[in-house]
Subunit: 134 residues, 6 copies
């Protein structure tokens, strides 16, 4: 699947590309969005999801989580799924938000810890506590 | 695998059980730790990991993330892995830290969003941007 | 693990390689099958599985699903698991069956959507409906 | 997280509940949507995604895949992720669309096969074929 | 999907059921095989795979791994995937082979450790060593 | 995240690097440990886990599993998670322990088989047997 060049984008695709660059203060559209553009419906759907949850202030919503926490969740999920493109993007996003390498490493450390405990809880078939106190 | 009763714990197992209750301000030891106790080495190993990363102040460390962020990462990983016991525990932990249901739902919303984008990035085989701007 | 060259294949390995090429109308054996050939038993086992389920007409079976649907399932699973080689293969197979880029993108869109809802259902620990109506 | 009762739903939540029932011809709202309702933004977001991709005719779109194929993808992803609620829902949806048990089993058989081949391709670290022919 | 009762099994299904009981020295057929029986082709396929890899001596093959190691791999994969039925089955199988609870816990400990390091290697996007020495 | 050069390592990082090389009889520190070194706490934590479970004799413990079985579990988990760096490392480790390519392939064959059966057990929503006999 070949990415759509920014110069060749038109209509709904061009509109999402513009909105992405304005919302993120970016000068170019990353490959992820350019491949989604092969299906304009999908591009609109995914971008509206990401904008709503990751840039809530742009759609008139307020979030109970700060931007670093939101990106930390994104990185934790991406590391858990082993998605190379995504871990790269979210590491870059965290650094842009001011997180240093030690913070990124702490996020990955916590994410990896719970991949360990998840495998243990599932492996030992632990039954729920009547009243969780953890 | 049968969980070890608190009353029958001795030696290293009893020591971890005590430390867990003191560190967490808990009155009982959850099933997760009681099944790990079937292998005292493993119990010590996992508890030292969890204590160090989730209760860093108890081992003289400082964290760059606040407790809600750390639990948010734990919940995001657990939901991604579909670990029932773990999502239950971390939801309970978040509520204990003062997070309301809307916050828990926002964490799960963001985690689920990146499960979506991870599958897309992997499915479209997106190649890394020369300079990630996402 | 080094792939087995077609020219050096003999016995059972050569037989599977021939059968693969005949069944698929291919002129070369992909790397996947060439690495499996390091263990002839495994090669036979996996090929017999794939042939039976993906080319059922070649073993006298009928399928209730058409070839595009079968490949769509293969691609959806591969994207969910983040297997790069596999998403590449199944995208190629879909195009060979006549699917255009928009169709591939729709398959990936649906697959990614259910990675989202799966994380939500697991994260919210949704209990089964007495009578599912979804 | 407690599901929102239909009788207590108001405003945007009630609107999505109504739209769900009308779109699906259902008489009750499944637990999945009732727990999402604890965060109305998330409910709207997920429902708009599902409606757009799974009931495209309701939003003036056309799909290149038939409804059984779309549900087959949903079931394959859910089985791969091990999401109990989801496999249950999509099995029910497939039966409602007329798929018999043998078809459901064929979908699961194909999905499981590619979980096998994915682990093999990743485990053997297979490098891409210059020209995929699979 | 309803499991097929042993009493109602006929033809190919009955043949696999008999072969399973003889091979395993079992007096009843577990639910896993009884649900697969809804699609006799799938039942035969999966059983022939399991028999060949887990009971190789019954098909005239030799294995380079001992039975406990083979079940340890099965349990490690099942814990990683969070498959409840499977972790239960493989724990039972290990105990039948003479493994005690401490051994089961060690297997789960090692499996969980590599779920941790996998998330770290993927999260840090570690590039391959020219010459792996780990 | 940039790996820490061995020449620039100091204090706790240098100590772990030395211990790694001594324990493993290695002449260089792999990239995995060099990226963890960006967070010395995390480096110590992960190394102490790996050493305890994979080189138990170095910490005065005994293992109920032999070294090949322990690496087989590591490889099975890594193939299941699709972690490229990790499958590469553990394949190398197995060869160093004397395992030939056929053995590696058998391990991957068994791991892949249970990725298949896991998806089937989850997909068919198999309920536990009263008395597992598998």
């Amino acid at each position: 699947v070949r990415p759509v060049d920014e110069g060749r984008a038109a209509g709904r695709v061009a509109a999402v590309f513009e909105d992405f660059k304005k919302t993120r203060g970016a000068t170019a559209v990353p490959n992820f969005w350019r491949v989604l553009a092969t299906n304009p419906d999908l591009l609109e759907l995914v971008w509206s999801n990401v904008k709503r949850l990751m840039n809530p202030e742009c759609v008139g919503r307020t979030s109970k989580l700060d931007p670093v926490t939101r990106e930390a969740i994104a990185l934790a999920v991406s590391a858990t799924n082993g998605c190379a493109y995504c871990t790269n993007s979210h590491t870059a996003a965290l650094k842009k938000l001011g997180a240093d390498e030690e913070t990124v490493a702490e996020i990955l450390g916590i994410a990896s810890l719970f991949n360990m405990t998840n495998a243990l809880a599932d492996g030992f078939q632990v039954v729920p506590d009547v009243k969780a106190e953890w």
